[in-house]
Symmetry: none
Amino acid sequence: MLMKDGMNSRILLDSAKSCILASSPVFRRQQFLIRCVGGSIDHQRNFRDMQTLRALEVDSESVVRAITPALDPTRHKGQAGNIAVIGGCREYTGAPYFAAISALKIGADLSHVFCTKDAAPVIKSYSPELIVHPVLEESYSIGEECKRSISSKVVAEVDKWMERFDCIVVGPGLGRDPFLLDCVSEIIRHARQSNIPIVIDGDGLVLVTNNVDLVSGYALAVLTPNVNEYKRLVQKVLNSEVNDVDAPQQLLSLAKQIGGVTILRKGNSDLISDGDTVKAVNIYGSPRRCGGQGDILSGRQVSVAVFLSWARQHILAANSNINLSCKNPTILGCIAGSALLRKAASLAFLNNKRSTVTGDIIECLGKSLEHICPAS
Amino acid sequence: MLMKDGMNSRILLDSAKSCILASSPVFRRQQFLIRCVGGSIDHQRNFRDMQTLRALEVDSESVVRAITPALDPTRHKGQAGNIAVIGGCREYTGAPYFAAISALKIGADLSHVFCTKDAAPVIKSYSPELIVHPVLEESYSIGEECKRSISSKVVAEVDKWMERFDCIVVGPGLGRDPFLLDCVSEIIRHARQSNIPIVIDGDGLVLVTNNVDLVSGYALAVLTPNVNEYKRLVQKVLNSEVNDVDAPQQLLSLAKQIGGVTILRKGNSDLISDGDTVKAVNIYGSPRRCGGQGDILSGRQVSVAVFLSWARQHILAANSNINLSCKNPTILGCIAGSALLRKAASLAFLNNKRSTVTGDIIECLGKSLEHICPAS
């Protein structure tokens, strides 16, 4: 009896310990690490039908070569792409910078950033190559009574430039301020009215997941979710959990459900669908996942934006004589954008190993493109 | 009758559709894309008389060698050129930085920037090599009642330095604020009174196109328009469209019409005229047209400013014993400035291919000049 009591006491003690542990930061951190390690293994294992995945793989380097414009001295500034990044707030300035400078390093002619007034001087100071517009506003700096007029002004400032852009990228370093996100929703609506392609990433995906109508049915929208962003999107739109066993089919359903937008599901293999077809890009990337890479390697958004612009121009110039099986510029942009970033990351990792940071990958963009598609 | 009515209705409907289309952003965007794709091809074809162009070509490298001052330990700071860039506002900080730093990289001794208060800390942060004056003001930061007094103050701040400058460059990143442009008009008038050479580029050209009298008849003024800026200038001054078939003759007429200012028409071949003679610079540049290049490669303004200063010094020192067929320092400055930038851009492109950004070209300025004209 005494012994039994003793056992009960131990069980009670263990249970109390678990309670304390569960609430401790150490424990939560351990759980997080286990999820991180386990998550990716499961993720990999769960792609049971690797053959299906291989069947979906495209010759992405051929796509890069087909849509990259020839360099021609008769062309003038802006013809190789004018890209705008909507992002950058008091807290985040690195992500929009990395996105915008990458556009230039891939070969776009002009790269703009639309950010808050606090973020602008910092982003400007990273590089004189960018055109940085301090036009966005966050709730903390404005009174309730002037929100409407400021919102109109913010949207008008972006509108002045809208028609010049070949693609806008919404999300890098955008933050979660409700007023700012309301303004950005309006900017997305205006871009859509003007038929400007939109690539949505990072905090832009939070916005779109909460209001799918913003992009629903817009064929020139591209979403580039990572594992967690994809999970939330699936839960919201398909009302189910992520199914890694038949990932391509689920991605296809998701893209179809959002009215044929294109989704690039970032992962070990990048999966791409517009609700009509599914493609995979497997070219080897880097095993290292540094902070900013979320904005360039995992995000791949600007690379997609530049190639999307080029694909659109290529399709327009060639009329119907396109030597490509797929004729959707958003799919072509995703394939080429994904391939280039994976190659650049792999090259940067070779040079820098564990030290690899986002700037190293950006420095490898030009060499990677030159390797796939020599300029002359 | 019914059929005819039907046809008429259809025509009416089509016409109505066209009207709606023409005003829609989608249509305007498509037209813009078509212009981008098609426009440049026409431009190339229209230079029918390539032989004429070749006949105008000058040995630009000889001009560079003739006017570049020898490096001499007895000379003191400032003798190799003191250049001022008037530009840089809330929106643009890259362009004035690129211009000012290029002056130093070519070999000027001192390089100043006069910009707005917002732009100054950012431009300063790009490089400690520059002298940056936060003196310009934009409308948004001042009340209507104090515009006159602030304008006088702004002009006085620049005036304090004016006589020390060998050349001022007006335009890079100037923006379009009406108050700021009024102040800059006054600065141009003062520079002219002091006989300081003025190179006008970018937004400075918008100002001058709207008020040609600012520079008309001033032999030390140089305008460096790109394709679009040139088009607007021709429309305003000659009241006609750009004629690519006889481009040299039209440029000559334009320069003569503005009272003998020098115009560097940037393009595949750079064409230069002072209303008296026409020269062409064809040394191969880069096929890449990135944003900042608009301010350095296409602009070529600061390179022109430095060589103009040197040419003027050279002519002054040599009295009439100049071993050059042309004795106009603005023409000599344009020829040498154009040649050096094209060479640097070509070198940068060899190293960086599609990734070439303006900073890469600036890094090649010194090597290019050294190649044409070794320092020792």
